[in-house]
Symmetry: C2
Amino acid sequence: MIDVAKAAGVSKSTVSLVLRGAAGVKADTVEKVNTAIRELGYVYNRDAAGLRSRESNLVAIVANDLANPYLAQVIIALEGELELRGYMPVVVNINESVDRQSSMVASLKEHNVAGFFITPAPGTEAVWLRELADASHPVVCLMRDVEGAHVPTVMPDNRLGMYLATRYLIGLGHKRIAFVGGLTTISDYHERKDGFLKAMREAGLTVKDSDIEPSSTKRQGGTIAVNRVMDRDASITGIVCFTDVVAYGVYTALQERGLTPGKDIAVVGFDDLEDSRLMSPALTTVRVRAEDIGQMAYERLQQWRDNQKVPENALVGVELVVRSSCCSVEG
Amino acid sequence: MIDVAKAAGVSKSTVSLVLRGAAGVKADTVEKVNTAIRELGYVYNRDAAGLRSRESNLVAIVANDLANPYLAQVIIALEGELELRGYMPVVVNINESVDRQSSMVASLKEHNVAGFFITPAPGTEAVWLRELADASHPVVCLMRDVEGAHVPTVMPDNRLGMYLATRYLIGLGHKRIAFVGGLTTISDYHERKDGFLKAMREAGLTVKDSDIEPSSTKRQGGTIAVNRVMDRDASITGIVCFTDVVAYGVYTALQERGLTPGKDIAVVGFDDLEDSRLMSPALTTVRVRAEDIGQMAYERLQQWRDNQKVPENALVGVELVVRSSCCSVEG
DNA sequence: CTGAAAGCGCTTACAG
DNA sequence: CTGAAAGCGCTTACAG
């Protein structure tokens, strides 16, 4: 920078002003400085800037599992918001491990990030999260709620989504409906299950314990879980799946059992992944717009930085997308 | 840090030594310093350290598309290698855009990263990449080669993979085989196509221009591309797909045409995604172990940092995984 | 509108 | 084995 100053015939302070686009520098001087920067191939040192100013444009997106396609959508949306505002989003992947989560987050703090977006790993402790947030670092949780942490959280309206999906199946005449997939260690599982149970209860339908089978959220989880449910009780005619990915696994299992989704049995998902409309049959599912999550999450961060009161929980709207995976059933 | 020094009754230098785990500090002193650190909730400032030492533990993984499941696997593997060695991997997503690629990389340079892993966006210029690498930042390309850049690149043995896949189909008696999917703007497309053509040529089989149809690498790309090919010529009995994801899209199109993969028509993919073995029929494909890519890529970085000669190109081994998506054909 | 000086929190020689 | 001093490249008041 001192070289740039020399080359442009000005002082370091002036170069700094130009670099940060401060108003009130003569256009002429700006021009000279920029030319010098270009000619010298000067690279701004953010370590030095951050050290002095205590500010950073780095924002961390701490992702629980990069292999999850829906999360990928959310990350992409959030990155878009962040970049638009001059932040530098970096994503780190914790693979559902609390240990990696805490070591990665500690590292990120050392790097002086301006804020955290985080999908908390199963087993995340409320104290840990609250203390992280206290330390002048804004924290926004994505997709998952950690009870007692009181950190702003943006997630889909899981209850309503599953309620709508289940009601739709009930409206089609289904009476024996199973709820399949999802990890019981994470908040969204319970919310989605609640939505399912509420719809069943309202319709006066019974849900046996054996109609509910949690599983990994991978494709194979759906395959295993639905097989268990159907082995126990073949009278099931409708399957409400924790996510679209689980539903894909359910398709596989059903087909292997000689059942055609959309004809012999009804299947509904949650997320509306891009692939879902290309499955055969096209999957009926609950859509949650990843862009909405990204946008609301960004707003939370901004409110925090502006010292506004940040609402603790924000529910992102959901919408049932009817395609061809649900047949009706004779009354 | 000065507070820590005071609390521990030592000098700043000693604290620094302890922090970096230098040998030759009395165990007693180390103990005192660590206690002070814990009690004061001290957070190491990497900006300051990086400014002074010109070193960084940050490594950037510049990903062309976070929504690509195979790339996600590679990233996860690479992160594992990096973390094992004390690096802090951060991933930034460029969404196949050269502009975002250059702005993100410029930002990353300002943050003084220790190295770049990058899957170059279509249209990446060789000069840009070479200059990036010159600037004392090690650069390793992943999955894609940029001609003329002379930057170490780690990618699957695309030619061999597709050669094996095609030979397999030929061995099953197929004579009319199409090559479907892939973006012509990226090196891997041409390599895979070459492997396909080589196998066909060796077997004395003709390939018409209309048997080859590039497309987006998304699922829908496969659907569209295979429909085009089959509309032009229904005598095709085997489909070699650019990737597994493309093959999934091909499945959809085929089923809509009343054709069952593995019975009426043969389909083979490339990547061996986790889902592929769960498709029905299970997809025959070319496996490229993401762990191998991660490991070789890490080695390249290390060699560079150790001032060893880094071999320019490294091909990762491939393996045909036979499952049930390929039928044989009467001679 | 521009310059000279101090200081952010570390690490790096260099003494001792 | 430990301490005192200088300096990394910026930004921040403060003069002028």
